[in-house]
């Protein structure tokens, strides 16, 4: 076992602490997504939610001793980066066309 690593299934803090942190982070992210009027703010909220998921994955990997969770997390981060890039590109395009990034004004889907 490499130095500085705790054995599988042990931690300075119990699992529920990580889960609580993740849930809180997720809730904050969701709150941001729902309440922010600025599209970039909404994207940030989505980032928070994704990171909450990452924390969950890492925590379970740690406590179950299964490295698959870690691998998943690496993938998630990569995809998140791509997603943010696309998302921001979209926001810029929308801004060019509509001269606004306020979500309230982007109501083309209204029935």
């Amino acid at each position: 076992m490499p130095a500085g690593m705790l054995p599988v299934g042990t931690s300075a803090m119990p699992l529920h602490a990580y889960l609580t942190l993740a849930a809180t982070l997720f809730a904050i992210g969701l709150f941001g997504v729902v309440t922010r009027r600025n599209t970039i703010g909404i994207l940030l909220g989505i980032e928070l939610m994704l990171n909450a998921v990452n924390i969950n994955l890492v925590a379970f990997a740690r406590f179950n001793g299964d490295p698959a969770g870690m691998v998943f997390t690496v993938f998630t981060i990569c995809i998140t980066v791509a997603e943010v890039a696309v998302g921001l590109a979209l926001v810029i395009l929308i801004f060019r066309i509509r001269r606004t990034v306020i979500a309230d004004h982007l109501d083309l889907l209204r029935g």
Binding site: L30, V33, V34, T35, I42, A103, D104, L106, D107, L108, L109, R110, G111
Partner: protein
């Protein structure tokens, strides 16, 4: 003998083949005259086989027919198709094939100036008609008969409307179709009712049931009446005769073939074919006789007031059909059938002669003809032969059969119809010779030369300035028919077939006297001008008025149409517009309102959708956790 049926089958299939060839191979049809030649060759072959079938047919009324199962069922086939070749059907087959062949040859000349496409279409229809009529004649059961019955109706419609660009022709075609259809509905009902009580469509089986006495008699009158209705429509009996004069809008050869010699006699043929069935219902038979005699008289009256040569002939056809029906109604169907055959010959002859005149003069109006005797001697002779046959002069085609019909009606005890028919015989001679004296004798009408008045069709394009006898393609057919007309007349005058009934001795002299009287009156009036035509007309003031108005039969139909039918259509239209459409409209309005309410959910705000997604997710989670 199945030989006969076999030959009849070949005869039936030949025109079908030529129709299919012309219908499927479009370039051939569009080529015009080659299409005509093909059709003529096929119909000549059909005529040959028909004659062979006739020579081989037995004299017995019913032959075991050549049958194929069509709708098989466990207890024997429900319907069959086949060929029934007996004495009646084969002689009729010969008549159909003969007139059809001659008319097709004649049409080559008559329609020479038609565009090629139209000519090909014409010959395709002609072949289809020949096939349909032969199928009708040879039908061994009611189902096949009905199918071909409708097919000939279709051909009649198509050929009347051959010049469909002409509004009158299109109208006449539709009128003919609907009027005969009114009768056909009756026929169909009759056939189904008959099947309901006997369980068979087959003539032979029905005949066996009649002979064995197992056919239920009560209510049979309704069945025969319904079947008779079909004959009323097809054979232009009062009151459904109105379509036949209008059908003259078609080309003259078509009038000769379909509306004089063959199709219109289908009703008479049907009644002849099933005379053993009608014999069981004397009431209906008496009705047939009365209506026939009345139709004969009515149409003869109408013919006297016409100035259109084809309409005169059309009314004379209606009148002669009335004769045939009267003989059948008197219970002697073979007398009517004999008249059908001779009428087929000389009426086709008259129409072909009239066609030659119309072709040359370019008009149907007899007052624009006049003095054609010098310019068209051949046509004059054959027309005279036809007119003498129709008038019933001895040695000519119609003499013996007319005599036979009148004898049959007298022997059948229908005294009043007999009197009507004798009056009709007088009128027949009168109106035919009125046409002969006005059109062929006397002085040439000044406007007759080159005047194309009233001839909306292409024969007007033909140079009318040189009046002369037609080319051999047209002359040959009517000469053949004339020779046959006279031949049949002489044959019957010399060698009487034996009578089925005892006709009184005074009958023949009476009929001849009456006919000669009619000719004499026409001669005095229109040739010698001893009797003033105007005064003669004035003497029959009211009758003349009525005849000019076609006895208001057309008006009655029109009133019925405008009154009853249109009112009914309006009521139905109202129901459709407000009841049926109303329900649909209410449903669609509700859908619209519901959709309108639902669409408010779509705010277009991304965050609202996120709420939705979050709520949905929550709901799913709760549902998963819900204890069962």
């Amino acid at each position: 003998m199945t030989d006969s049926a076999q030959f009849a089958l070949y005869s039936l299939l030949l025109p079908a083949g030529s129709f299919l060839l012309l219908a499927v191979v479009a370039p051939l049809r569009r080529s015009g005259r080659p299409a005509g030649f093909i059709s003529i060759v096929f119909s000549a072959a059909a005529l040959g086989w028909a004659v062979r079938a006739w020579l081989h047919s037995s004299r017995e009324v019913f032959q075991p027919p050549l049958l194929w199962e069509w709708i098989p069922a466990e207890a024997g086939p429900l319907a069959t198709v086949g060929v029934l070749a007996d004495a009646d059907s084969t002689i009729m087959l010969v008549l159909v094939a003969l007139v059809s062949f001659l008319v097709q040859v004649y049409s080559l000349g008559y329609l020479a100036h038609e565009p090629a496409q139209g000519l090909g279409r014409y010959y395709a229809y002609q072949s289809l008609f020949a096939f349909s009529m032969m199928g009708l004649v040879l039908a061994p059961n009611f189902v096949q008969l009905f199918i071909f019955w409708e097919l000939v109706g279709l051909c009649s419609y198509l050929l009347i409307g051959y010049w469909y660009g002409k509004p009158e022709a299109a109208r006449a075609a539709v009128k003919a179709f609907w009027t005969t259809k009114a009768g056909d509905v009756g026929l169909l009902i009759g056939i189904v009712l008959l099947w309901q009580r006997t369980g068979t469509f087959d003539f032979l089986e029905l005949l066996m049931q009649v002979d064995a006495g197992t056919l239920p008699l009560e209510g049979l009158g309704l069945v025969t009446f319904c079947i008779y209705l079909g004959a009323v429509g097809k054979s232009a009996q009062f009151p459904l005769h109105v379509w036949l004069p209008d059908a003259m809008e078609g080309p003259t050869p078509v009038s000769a073939l379909i509306h004089a010699a063959t199709m219109v006699t289908a009703g008479v043929y049907l009644l002849k074919r099933t005379d053993w069935l009608f014999a069981l219902t004397p009431d209906v038979l008496a009705l047939v006789g009365w209506v026939g005699a009345f139709t004969a008289l009515l149409a003869a009256t109408l013919a006297c007031a016409q100035s259109d040569i084809k309409r005169v002939l059309a009314y004379s056809t209606v009148s002669q059909l009335g004769y045939m029906m009267a003989a059948i109604g008197a219970g002697f169907a073979s007398a009517g059938f004999l008249h059908l055959l001779t009428n087929g010959l000389f009426k086709a002859l008259l129409f072909l002669g009239a066609g030659a005149v119309i072709h040359a003069v370019g008009s149907n109006d007899i007052f624009q003809m006049g003095g054609l005797r010098r310019a068209m001697p051949q046509t004059t002779i054959v027309f005279l032969v036809g007119a003498l046959s129709l008038a019933g002069i001895p040695l000519f085609g119609g003499f013996f059969s007319k005599d036979e019909v009148l004898g049959a009606v007298w022997a059948g005890g229908l005294t009043a119809p007999f009197v009507m028919l004798v009056v009709t015989a007088f009128l027949t001679a009168f109106y035919m010779f009125r046409v002969v004296f006005i059109a062929f004798f006397g002085e040439p009408a000044s406007q007759g030369h080159g005047a194309h008045v009233g001839a909306g069709h292409s024969s007007a394009a033909h140079g009318g300035t040189h009046l002369q006898d037609p080319l051999p393609t047209m002359a040959l057919p009517f000469w053949l028919l004339a020779i046959m007309s006279v031949g049949v007349g002489i044959l019957f005058t010399v060698r009487h077939p034996e009578h089925e009934f005892a006709a009184p001795g005074w009958l023949t002299p009476l009929v001849v006297t009456v006919s000669v009287g009619g000719i004499l009156l026409a001669w005095l009036t229109y040739h010698r001008r001893v009797v003033d035509a105007e005064r003669l007309a004035a003497a029959f003031g009211l009758v003349r008025e009525a005849a000019l108005a076609k006895f208001w039969v057309d008006d009655v139909f029109e009133a019925m149409y405008r009154g009853a039918l249109l009112a009914f259509s309006r009521a139905v239209g109202w129901m459709d517009r407000y009841l049926v459409d109303g329900i649909v409209n209410v449903l669609s309005a509700w859908t619209l309102v519901l959709g309108d309410r639902l669409r408010r959910m779509q705010s277009g705000q991304p965050q609202d959708y996120v709420y939705g997604v979050a709520l949905g997710l929550l709901l799913l989670l709760v549902l998963i956790q819900w204890p069962r």
